[in-house]
Symmetry: C2
Subunit: 334 residues, 2 copies
DNA sequence: TTTAATAATGCAAACGTTTCTATAATATAT
DNA sequence: ATATATTATAGAAACGTTTGCATTATTAAA
């Protein structure tokens, strides 16, 4: 490996001069600068990042901790994160926890060995002491997508509101018996969506029917199966319903399939509305009505926030930023 | 930040003893070891990764350079990479090039500042001197998914064979006029798939009709549009066809939509076969027949190969590893 | 017990930078 | 020409580790 000393020798100057010439934050004679640049080119010198980082106490790297990049909501988020990080000269380390708190803890441990300057976390589940801990220590960190039950820096959407609006839309368009596929109630985000569903019914003077509340609590990648099974069992029990509010697009897709398999039509017989607005949700048949989460923008905002945190030494009161979601009506609702 | 010296002081020993106690590759008395461990716990000491890396000359980090994590073939690959890297104590830095050679070069430059121990690259396009360069320098690197026109360490599938088999299947099941949506011919992988298509026709004694070769050369994320447009224009020109071989699932989905929009049925009137076997390809209507790429496994193999490269000092002849693809027949073909 | 072998520990150098301090070279004002 | 201010450069210390070498403490053998 070629070091700054080699360059210095080649150019006939001291290492410190090379450093100054390269960093540009001290004056060095133009002629020597040229010599140095020449030597750099000749030897194909690249400053050693580790040495620099060690000296400066930062790595220009952030960690992105998410449950699973294969869950189709995360690629867009990751892109938002990576693009923004890159823009400011930062790199992104990708970590998948598979909803496992233990894995999450291990990653945090690992990344904290002065590895990364800050962390973006979509927390695994309810247990969050390790995150509280992190915050207490003043480590730069922002929570994304999934809110957490204490005040922390976060960039999220208002899941209650979004669900409320989606269900209200269904009600307004004449649906009376709206089933919900409720998602893992361990996660605040699904609890919120569930709450939004109930509140919308209540506010419209409609009853919340126990039998229309479906979906299991598991969190598998094959989420669409949950949607399929939920609707399937509704039919099996001969429960009538004229709409389905699925708490994810994947579940909505499963629901649509189950409805079709039973010989009903979407949206003529049963309307289906999803949540997420995945890239391919417009591609299915019928194109899915859904709530759009600004995932890319969440990533962008989160990185901005994180870098602000990294670059201020004074500890500030955490703030949560609510990004606006949007109801997208396509053709799975009448 | 708490350093090894702090621990040493607290435990009443020298830093070197702490280092030895922690690394475990030298004998240290049990009682002192306990004292040290206690001090570590008490002070919440974490070894500084940068210092370690600087000393040892490696970072236990690899770079994953891909066009775009939002392209749905990459999440599975990334997961394979990350899981395997993690298994061996490595971290993964994610880089999206957007098919831009310049961005790719910049990333390689950046990551090479002794940042990463090795690189996994799905190259952007035809221009590959910078990759040749990398290889010449003996930098650990393996090419993934997209083969390259020189001999390099790579983990790929046999795109020619896979396309050949898919089209042969179509022919065997009675299709005569098979259209292809050909993909960006700048990329070897699409050239290979195209070649497989032609060869299958030839070997079956069928003509290669110019008018059935469709699709533009662009590489946008909204790939399904290419499929839609291609089939749309076939109808517009009143060209008859009884099957479509789409070079990606996304294009296949677009194609199906266009076929439906024109009042035809898949697969009764026209069969469609895709390529990739994305997670949601089984979820569309009808479930898509396609060629399955073992993306996760490609990631796994590639990391194994890369780590082998990293851990051998002697430069070896590059080898390319062909993973086997699989024809998955669902319901979009008759 | 004394000596030899082994185990445990400390010291200092090294990894490749950056930056502080000091000195040398040059330019500017008198 | 001399004194002063400025600019350019070198030297050395520091960042937090690990490790080779030297030293000291401990154990085993005689």
């Amino acid at each position: 490996m070629v070091t700054i000393k080699d360059v210095a020798k080649k150019a006939g100057v001291s290492p410190s001069t090379v450093s100054r010439a390269l960093s540009g934050n001290a004056s060095v004679k133009e002629s020597t600068k040229q010599k140095i640049l020449e030597a750099v080119k000749l030897l194909n010198y690249r400053p050693n990042f580790l040495a620099q980082g060690l000296k400066e106490g930062k790595t220009k790297t952030i960690g992105l901790i998410i449950p699973n990049i294969r869950n189709p909501i995360y690629p867009a988020l990751a892109r938002g994160v990576e693009d923004t990080a890159k823009k400011f000269g930062y790199s992104v380390v990708l970590c998948n926890t598979d909803e496992d708190v233990k894995a999450e803890k291990e990653y945090i441990q690992k990344l904290r060995k002065r590895w990364v300057d800050g962390l973006l976390i979509a927390p695994a589940a309810k247990e969050t002491e390790h995150i509280v801990e992190l915050q207490k220590e003043g480590f730069p960190m922002v929570i994304i997508v999934r809110n957490v039950d204490f005040l922390a820096n976060a960039v999220i959407i208002d899941n209650f509101r979004a669900a409320y609006d989606a269900v209200s839309f269904l009600i307004k368009t004449g649906h009376q018996r709206i089933a919900i596929i409720k998602g893992n109630q361990q996660l605040a985000l699904y609890r919120e969506r569930f709450r939004g569903y109930k509140q919308a019914l209540l506010d419209a003077g409609l009853p919340v029917h126990e039998e229309l509340i479906t979906g299991d609590e598991s969190d598998s990648v094959q989420w669409s199966l949950d949607g399929y099974n939920a609707v399937y069992s509704l039919f099996a029990q001969n429960i009538k319903f004229d709409a389905v509010f699925a708490t994810t697009d994947l579940r909505a897709i499963g629901a649509i399939r189950a409805i079709k398999d039973h010989g009903y039509k979407v949206p003529e017989d049963i309307s289906v509305i999803g949540f997420d607005n995945l890239e391919f949700s417009s591609l299915i048949d019928p194109p899915l009505s859904t709530v759009s989460q600004p995932l890319y923008d969440i990533g962008v905002r989160a990185v901005n926030k994180l870098l602000a945190l990294i670059n201020t030494e004074t500890m500030q009161e955490p703030t949560v930023e609510i990004m606006s979601s949007e109801l997208i009506i396509r053709r799975s609702t009448r």
